[in-house]
Each structure stands twice: as structure tokens, then as C-alpha cells.
């Protein structure tokens, strides 16, 4: 008996250990009963304050991550806003394009945005943010708010390149709206506000200020899409034709939203034309 008591006294830390483990166990089990365990959690005042201070400090540690999330959200909102504003501009753009060119209800109309624009070279190209997945095809007509912009030159999956009037390669068949005399519109590579209408016969009846519109002789543009107005009338060097300087109604320098127009009858016209050749 004495030995037992001595043993127990010598190893009293065993009891303390077991007692404290029991307390820990009780804490663990009782935690689920909400109010009883409240003191031993961060809900009490001291640890609550502690966390307040700590989050004030550690808040900075997550700034980078939060920044990233904010940036992503920002971009998401931006793209939404863009889509929204694109759709509102579309309607006004559509109205102004419709005013300047007769669009058939069967034609394909694709709204697009100019994302790259160059005016300074002799061969300028525009890049637009619509491609084959959006229905854009090569040789579709491109119209801006003022009138004709150019022709789709190359179609990528999501983007396309447009050959605008302001490219010396561009050839568009046009006519004087009032008298129907027609010629070929080309750019001389000089001013971004004007282009030249060549090959008009000497007896052409034309006056300064006359409207120039598309002739409708190609399968690309429908008839009478607005191009611009006559600015100057000259004779060609060989004296056999008249050259008109046309003030373009489309301001390429501020070109932003445009419409790609796919004519429903292009295929038929092309097939017919190639059957002759």
C-alpha cells in the first residue's frame, strides 16, 4: 500500500496529464454546443480584437491576389460594357448606313469594330474584330457611318483585314448619282479625305458637289451606296477622259464602328459571270 502511494506521488504528473487531456477532450466535444464553448473561441473579446489587428496587417499580404481578381472583374465588366455599347451604337450606325445605302433584308449584316487603322501608307489596311466564325467572308462590303469603307480582303477566324478605299489597290465601280455616268474609284495615295474617279467619258454631265455612289456593277456593293461628293473636275493627261476628285464622305481618321455587308445574291451573280468566261 505504501509502495502504491509512493508510486502515485512520484508519478503525479500522470494524473495531471490525464486530467488536462480530459479537459481538452471536453472542449472538443462541447464545442458543438454553441454557447458553452464560446469563450474558448475567437468569438471572445480578446481574440476577436486580436484578429481585427491581424487582418489589418495580413490584409496587405493578399493585395496582389485581390488586385488580380479585381482586374479580372474589371475586364469582364469592360467586355460587357463594350458589347452593350456596341449594340447601342449598332442601331444608330445601322440607321446611318441604311440612310447611305440600300440594304436588302436578305443581306447579312455584321457589326464590327476597327481595331487597327492606318492612313499613312499607300497600301493601308484596316483590321476589324470579326472573322469567319462571325460570318465574315472575303470580298464582303464594309460600310462606315458615312458610307463605303472598303472590301474584306482576308478573313481570319476571329479577325479580318479590310482593303479600304484608301489603298492604291482598291478599285470600286462608282457613278455620278444624278446622271448615272460611271467610272472606277481609286486612291491616288495623297489625301486621306479624297479619292479619284477615273475613266469617265468627256461628255459626262457632272458638276461640283454632285453625289458619287456605287454603281452596283460588282457583286460586292449594292447600288447607290454613298461614297462622297465631287470636289474637283479635271481632264486626264491624254485628254480622253475626265477625272473627278471625290471628297469621301467616310472619315477614315475617326473610323471606329463599321458594318460588314454580305449580299445574299453574290454567289448567283458570280456564278453567272464565271459561266460567261
Amino acid at each position: 500500500m505504501r509502495h502504491l502511494i509512493q508510486f502515485l506521488i512520484r508519478n503525479n504528473h500522470w494524473f495531471l496529464f490525464l486530467l488536462l487531456e480530459l479537459v481538452a477532450l471536453l472542449l472538443m466535444v462541447r464545442f458543438n454546443r454553441y454557447h458553452e464553448g464560446l469563450f474558448f473561441t475567437s468569438a471572445n473579446h480578446v481574440t476577436g480584437k486580436l484578429y481585427e489587428v491581424s487582418s489589418g496587417v495580413t490584409g496587405y499580404l493578399h493585395l496582389q491576389e485581390e488586385n488580380k481578381i479585381l482586374l479580372e472583374q474589371n475586364m469582364l465588366l469592360h467586355s460587357k460594357l463594350e458589347k452593350l455599347s456596341a449594340s447601342t451604337i449598332d442601331s444608330t450606325l445601322l440607321a446611318s448606313v441604311a440612310e447611305n445605302s440600300p440594304i436588302s433584308s436578305k443581306d447579312t449584316i455584321i457589326a464590327a469594330k476597327v481595331i487597327n487603322n492606318n492612313l499613312t501608307q499607300s497600301q493601308n489596311f484596316l483590321t476589324i474584330n470579326r472573322g469567319s466564325v462571325d460570318g465574315v467572308r472575303d470580298e464582303m462590303a464594309v460600310m462606315g457611318p458615312g458610307g463605303v469603307v472598303g472590301v474584306v480582303y482576308k478573313t481570319g477566324k476571329h479577325f479580318s483585314i479590310v482593303l479600304p478605299i484608301l489603298n492604291i489597290k482598291s478599285n470600286i465601280s462608282c457613278k455620278v448619282k444624278r446622271t448615272d455616268y460611271f467610272g472606277i474609284l481609286r486612291w491616288d495615295g495623297k489625301s486621306s479625305r479624297t479619292a479619284k474617279l477615273y475613266d469617265l467619258p468627256l461628255h459626262t454631265q457632272v458638276e461640283l458637289g454632285d453625289s458619287i455612289v456605287t454603281s452596283g456593277y460588282s457583286s460586292i456593293f449594292p447600288e447607290s451606296c454613298n461614297i462622297g461628293t465631287v470636289n474637283q473636275i479635271d481632264r486626264s493627261v491624254d485628254g480622253l477622259s475626265i477625272i473627278l476628285t471625290v471628297k469621301l464622305s467616310c472619315n477614315f481618321a475617326i473610323l471606329n464602328h463599321i458594318i460588314v455587308l454580305g449580299r445574299y445574291d453574290t454567289k448567283e451573280i458570280k456564278a453567272l459571270e464565271s459561266s460567261i468566261e
Binding site: 488536462l20 477532450l25 472542449l27 472538443m28 464545442f31 474558448f40 473561441t41 475567437s42 481574440t47 495580413t58
Partner: protein, 167 residues
């Protein structure tokens, strides 16, 4: 027990527990490895601290950490067990008698003994802590993975701690 020494150890306890609860507990490398550096406080208490006193240090350090991290009883039980077996571990890893007074360190114990002591203590602690902590949703694979990852990370950090700070 001299008062200044007691106060020093109390401050040390608060320091390690706060460091653990506010910083290191929020680390989870690859989602599995969390360093439990606060046990350094228990591991480096001088050996002339009595067994019962050691148990109390372990109990209150664990309790305080539990309060901070909302895990009632979990840290407490594991830390308490660690302070319970600490005298036996020291005896196992060193040639010192239990009555010798020293602070466990590589300087006092020799590097290999100290590392041995560190590794056994850390893994014992992590085994118990994660075992108790994961009780509700215990999966042996996840358990062993977490134990291994957290144990190694804790050891690595404490080893660097020990050499650079010598707290």
C-alpha cells in the same frame, strides 16, 4: 521558480502562439503542408522545468492557440501529449540524466541528438494533431500525406529557425 524567467517564458509562449495562429497556420503549401512552428516553445523549455509545470505550459499554449484558431481541444490535446513525453524523448535521444539542467539545443545535445529529438517530437505532434483534427473525415491516405508534408515542412523551418535565430 524565479519570476523573471517565468515572465520570459510567458512572453516566449505568447510570441510563438501568436506567430503560429496568425501567420503559420494560414500557410498550406500545395494545400497539404502546414508548418507547426510553435512547438519550438515546448521543445526548448529548460529541463529544470518540472514535469507538472511542463504539462501546464503545454496545456495553456495549446489552449491559447485553440482559442485563436477556433479549434477547441485539438491543439491542446496534441501539445499536452508532446509536453508529457518530452522528458522521455530527451532521455531517449541524449545521454543526460533527467536531473541535469540544460536547454535542449544542438549546442548542448550535439547535432545528431538534437535533430533526432526534433524529428521524433515533430512527427509525434503532427500525428496526434492531424489524427484528432481529421477525426470526422478520416482517410488514411490523406492523413499520412498531410502528416509527412507538414512534418517535413515543420522540421525544415525549425531547423532554419534554430540556426539563424537561436531563440
Amino acid at each position: 521558480m524565479r519570476l523573471p524567467l517565468f515572465l520570459k517564458q510567458l512572453l516566449k509562449m505568447f510570441f510563438f502562439v501568436l506567430l503560429q495562429g496568425l501567420v503559420f497556420s494560414h500557410i498550406a503549401l500545395w494545400g497539404v503542408a502546414t508548418p507547426y512552428i510553435f512547438i519550438y516553445f515546448i521543445l526548448t523549455l529548460p529541463t529544470d522545468v518540472g514535469r507538472n509545470q511542463l504539462l501546464l505550459w503545454g496545456f495553456f499554449a495549446g489552449l491559447f492557440l485553440d482559442m485563436i484558431s477556433n479549434t477547441p481541444g485539438i491543439y491542446t490535446s496534441a501539445t499536452l501529449l508532446l509536453s508529457f513525453v518530452r522528458p522521455r524523448l530527451l532521455k531517449l535521444c541524449t545521454t543526460f540524466e533527467e536531473v541535469d539542467a540544460y536547454v535542449p539545443s544542438s549546442k548542448n545535445m550535439g547535432l545528431s541528438s538534437f535533430v533526432e529529438y526534433l524529428i521524433i517530437s515533430i512527427f509525434l505532434f503532427v500525428l496526434v494533431l492531424l489524427g484528432v483534427g481529421q477525426m470526422g473525415q478520416f482517410t488514411i491516405g490523406i492523413y499520412l500525406r498531410d502528416v509527412l508534408a507538414s512534418g517535413l515542412l515543420t522540421f525544415g523551418l525549425l531547423y532554419i529557425f534554430h540556426w539563424s535565430l537561436d531563440i
